[in-house]
């Protein structure tokens, strides 16, 4: 079955986070945070969760390699490697840690507030002159995937999670920009690995009232342009990911594409957790 290889220390998985850092990510989103801030928070939390899931106490098992790629973040059509490393290296050297308060069970039926440290890997940035070179970012991701497969042919197929708030735009012809993104995405989805094709999941941050469109199986059911684009650049949800989708309260069918358009904050959190789950708890 495709996309069924387990992440393990011997055959780590590969997640590529593509993060839109264009000027519009500075718009308000939720809880006093703008889109860039909330996205950074969710991705940082996800990486923290991966660290805890793969921790055996004082050591982190390198079951996954992570790349965080920002686009538009240095202004214009920049595409930057923010951080690429194995999970243990992320754990060993975060940019910084933040103290957060959390309530946990006291083991006797009650709750107790504890202080926890959260490691920070992605700082929110969205310069005003940042554009949305999504096609270019996908192209860079494709190079990384090809390099990975070349070195690690027996590993699980890589996963791309693209977080954006708009259509591709490099300052020229928007139609061409969209076509480029579609073309590169399709070429990624046609790359062959021993574990099937690489997967692209896309989430588009919306605005209230967040009329979400998600995991559609047919383009005809989508009315907005952003949704249609996301449909075209998203992989079908592999069978091995459908249980993970269900656990995150997403309803999928056999032909569902892995995307959410106009996502609200809760959906964004669930979607990124789903996308980075490696399928149904497929950790050896």
């Amino acid at each position: 079955m495709n996309n069924s290889k387990q992440w393990s220390s011997a055959t780590p998985g590969y997640i590529i986070f593509l993060v839109d850092q264009s000027g519009s990510m500075g718009e308000d989103y939720t809880g006093g945070k703008n889109k860039a801030e909330f996205t950074a928070l969710v991705i940082n939390r996800t990486i923290n969760d991966l660290i805890f899931t793969n921790s055996a106490g004082d050591k982190i098992k390198d079951r996954v390699f992570i790349s965080i790629i920002g686009y538009g973040g240095q202004g214009g059509n920049s595409v930057d490697d923010i951080r690429s490393d194995y999970l243990s290296a992320f754990a060993d050297s975060p940019l910084r840690t933040e103290k957060v308060k959390k309530k946990v069970s006291d083991g006797a039926g009650g709750l107790v507030e504890i202080e926890e440290e959260m490691a920070i890997y992605l700082e929110p940035t969205c310069p005003r002159n940042g554009l949305t070179p999504m096609g270019e970012a996908l192209d860079f991701a494709k190079q990384l995937i090809e390099g990975w497969i070349n070195k690690k042919p027996d590993n699980p197929a890589p996963v791309i999670i693209n977080v954006s708030d708009g259509m591709p735009y490099t300052g020229g012809n928007a139609v061409e920009d969209a076509e480029k993104a579609i073309s590169v995405a399709n070429s990624i989805m046609n790359v062959n690995t021993n574990d099937g094709n690489p997967i692209i999941f896309n989430v588009h941050l919306g605005q209230p009232p967040f009329n979400e469109s998600k995991f559609e199986s047919s383009e005809s059911k989508i009315s907005d342009d952003e949704g249609k684009l996301l449909f075209k650049i998203s992989s079908k949800v592999p069978e091995t990911y459908r249980e993970a989708a269900r656990k995150h309260e997403f309803v999928t069918s056999e032909d569902s594409r892995g995307f959410v358009s106009n996502a609200g904050p809760e959906t964004l959190i669930k979607f990124i957790n789903f996308g980075s789950s490696g399928g149904t708890d497929r950790i050896a």
Binding site: S8, S9, A10, N48, I51, F52, T53, N54, S55, A56, G57, D58, K59, I60, K61, F65, Q74, G75, G76, N77, S78, V79, D80, D81, S84, D85, Y86, A91, D92, P94, T97, K102, V104, S105, D106, G107, I114, E115, E116, E117, M118, A119, N129, G130, L131, P133, E136, D139, F140, Q143, L144, G147, W148, K151, K152, G171, D281, R282, I283, A284
Partner: protein
């Protein structure tokens, strides 16, 4: 009764013995044996599995509930100590503060000498099997014990004992019986899954293992052939014979000590590290020597003419490698010889390029004897001027480039090729 025991243990491939979360223990005085598999996603599972197996075989004075409490206290004590160390990582502290527990499967077996009975308890996907000697129908006579229900499927969600509180998962299954000639096998999940699939053939394959090395060879091969999941593996084979005789005599105990494997491997790693450091040191020293001798060679071969050329001529011209003749540094013979060489070169170049270049001979009137620097410099004045112009142009171009860069910084950047960035990432794969 005579008892012969062999036990082997190994870690997942691509990991090290120190990462192994499986454990086992044997105690011939208490006639107790146990295996445990720490759940890898939990907090210090290998500490938990080690405590479970050792406390079971040693603490014969405790009932099951009391035993678990004692194990939990021991685990907490050890973790408190680890986390109090100054170099504890942030993620370890976070999990400790969150009171994340350790989880592990468990199988325990004990013999009752007088009664000639055995009893066992199992929780999780570690298994106990008993194969009676001289069986007639393997499948019917095979004794199997684990808390897994039929049909048995191995996954990442076994039942477990938790190191904190009483939210254990699943209920232990128990079995007992009369001691018979035959072999008890206690093993963790990867081997158990293989054992069940391979059926009777597994017995013969296990019999062949005479050492840890034999065991590891089998494991490696079985993983390569997709007969075995790549996972930590632990097995105890407890063979009983002459059961009718009184007493229990442990004729052979050959059980690999995991701590011994860890110590050896860590020592090997240290050796390799020191060797690498030594090799790097030697390499650096050699490189330094080569650099030193190169510098010495250069300074020895350096012509004084070049030094005074630098004084007299334009610095850029000297950098371009023009060799000009200066006053008093060439002997007449040297000058002649150099001139001849240059003439020859010019001739060759002209022949090759088909360009009617004036040769030095043509430039220098035959009656003239090259004498002092002024004359020689004058002769090459044209080419010097050309060079100066060239360099001026280059300078202007450089300034233009840096101006362009500055203006680019004010405008949105267009991303150049990303190949080098990708290459940097490839190095980390």
């Amino acid at each position: 009764m005579k008892v012969s025991i062999k036990g082997f243990i190994t870690c997942k491939s691509a990991e090290q013995y120190i990462d192994c979360a499986d454990n086992y223990a044997v105690d011939k005085s208490s006639h107790r044996f146990s295996v445990s598999d720490g759940v890898s996603k939990s907090f210090f599972p290998k500490v938990w599995s080690e405590i479970l197996v050792t406390q079971f075989v040693e603490r014969t004075d405790l009932k099951e509930n009391e035993l678990i409490k004692v194990c939990q206290e021991e685990w907490q004590k050890r973790i408190d100590k680890i986390v109090s160390l100054p170099d504890t990582k942030w993620f370890t502290k976070s999990q400790y503060n969150r009171k994340d527990p350790a989880l592990a499967t468990f199988v325990g077996l004990q013999f009752f000498e007088k009664e000639k009975k055995w009893s066992a308890s199992a929780l999780g996907d570690s298994f106990l099997f008993f194969v009676p000697m001289g069986y007639k129908d393997y499948q019917k006579e095979l004794v199997k014990l684990s808390s897994k229900v039929e049909p048995i499927e191995f996954d990442n969600f076994p039942d477990y004992l938790t190191s904190i509180g009483d939210s254990h998962k699943g209920r232990p299954k128990e079995k007992s019986g009369n001691l018979k000639n035959g072999t008890f096998y206690l093993m963790t999940d990867a081997l158990a899954e293989w054992f069940i699939k391979d059926g009777e053939n597994a017995i013969g394959k296990i019999k062949v293992w005479k050492s840890q090395a034999d065991f590891e060879i089998f494991i490696t091969q079985a993983i390569e052939e997709n007969q075995l999941t790549n996972d930590d593996c632990a097995i105890l084979c407890i063979e009983l014979f002459e059961v009718e005789k009184t007493g229990i005599d442990y004729s052979k105990i050959q059980v690999t000590d995991l701590n011994y494997l860890i110590t050896n491997q860590e020592a090997e790693k240290e050796k390799i590290k020191l060797k690498k450091l030594e090799e790097e040191k030697i390499k650096l020293e050699k490189e330094e020597e080569i650099q030193k001798s190169k510098k010495l060679e250069i300074s020895q071969n350096e012509s004084p003419i070049t030094k005074s050329l630098a004084d007299i001529t334009n610095e850029d011209l000297a950098k371009e490698g023009l060799i000009l003749k200066v006053k008093g540094f060439f002997s007449g013979k040297e000058k002649e010889e150099n001139k001849k060489t240059e003439l020859a070169k010019e001739k060759i170049n002209t022949e090759v390029e088909g360009i009617d270049k004036p040769t030095l001979e043509q430039q220098v009137p035959s009656s003239e004897e090259p004498s002092d620097s002024e004359t020689t410099v004058a002769k090459n004045q044209n080419s010097e001027n050309d060079k100066k112009e060239e360099l001026e142009t280059e300078k202007i171009e450089e300034e233009a480039k840096s101006e362009k860069k500055e203006s680019e910084n004010l405008e949105p950047k267009v991303q150049p090729k990303v190949d080098s960035k990708a290459k940097n990432i490839f190095d980390k794969f």
